[in-house]
């Protein structure tokens, strides 16, 4: 198999994740886009592991670690989102602007 297919797929999936993080307004959807980016990284790790025939299999092991980290991240992230919803009544990240300087208008 040609390795560039896997790398290009990972790059495109990562860019879709970047678009989601920047364009989405709902915090849960932003978390979903972050998951897409983490998955793109996993494709790269697995592809390079198989390509380089690593005897320690570090690529696939790191992919498993990234999966565990993603689970931890989404757990804590959702706890924060739920707490923000409880305190502010919204999860629209554009409306959570309490730390902006007074007098500075967001577009």
């Amino acid at each position: 198999m040609h390795i560039e297919l896997a790398v290009v797929l990972a790059a495109l999936l990562f860019s879709i994740g970047v678009y989601g993080v920047l364009a989405r307004r709902n915090a849960v959807l932003v978390l979903m886009s972050v998951e897409l980016m983490l998955n793109a990284v996993n494709i790269n790790l697995v592809a390079f592991d198989v390509w380089l025939r690593d005897t320690l299999h570090s690529g696939q092991t790191f992919a498993l670690f990234v999966v565990a980290l993603a689970a931890a991240e989404v757990g804590v992230g959702l706890a924060i989102v739920v707490q923000v919803y409880r305190l502010r009544g919204t999860v629209a990240i554009d409306d959570l602007d309490e730390l902006t300087e007074p007098g500075v208008h967001r577009d």
Binding site: I16, S33, V50, T61, A71, Y85
Partner: protein, 170 residues
Amino acid sequence: MTAQDVVFCLLGVVALGSALLVVTTRNVVHAALWLVVTFGAVAGCFLVLTAELVAWVQVLIYIGAIVVLLLFGVMLTRAPVGPTDELDSGNRLLAALVAAATAATLSVLSVQAFHGAFVRLDQPSTAAVIGSALFRAWVLPFEVISVLLLAALVGAITLARPDVGTAGSR
């Protein structure tokens, strides 16, 4: 193009198409369900790359746990279930520009860097192979990751406690 290339391309097209739907759909629940399709297609890509264990871990943890957790988040924040225009912020055009620039840069760079590199897929990394590597060479990072998971669990419980942030706890 070998048969593996063709299968990988088809799975990649499915993954990219459903990922695009995740970030553009106007329905939160549909976004979570398209995320399942994306993760499934990426798991298929791992299988083509002979990474058997990573593929099943992907199915179990991403599709089985993370998507369910995200659906819980959708439910608990009382997100609108029907289609709505409130999911996208005003900077969609800018975001599309940045994403297109990222995609172009990364794709061109990686095609130039890995042009013609060929991987022979004749050594399947079964659970036995990866498990032996994980519990011999990588056992200390593995334990650190489990401590991190425990810390994240405790942190999530502490954050989600109902009395945090109310008048009684201050």
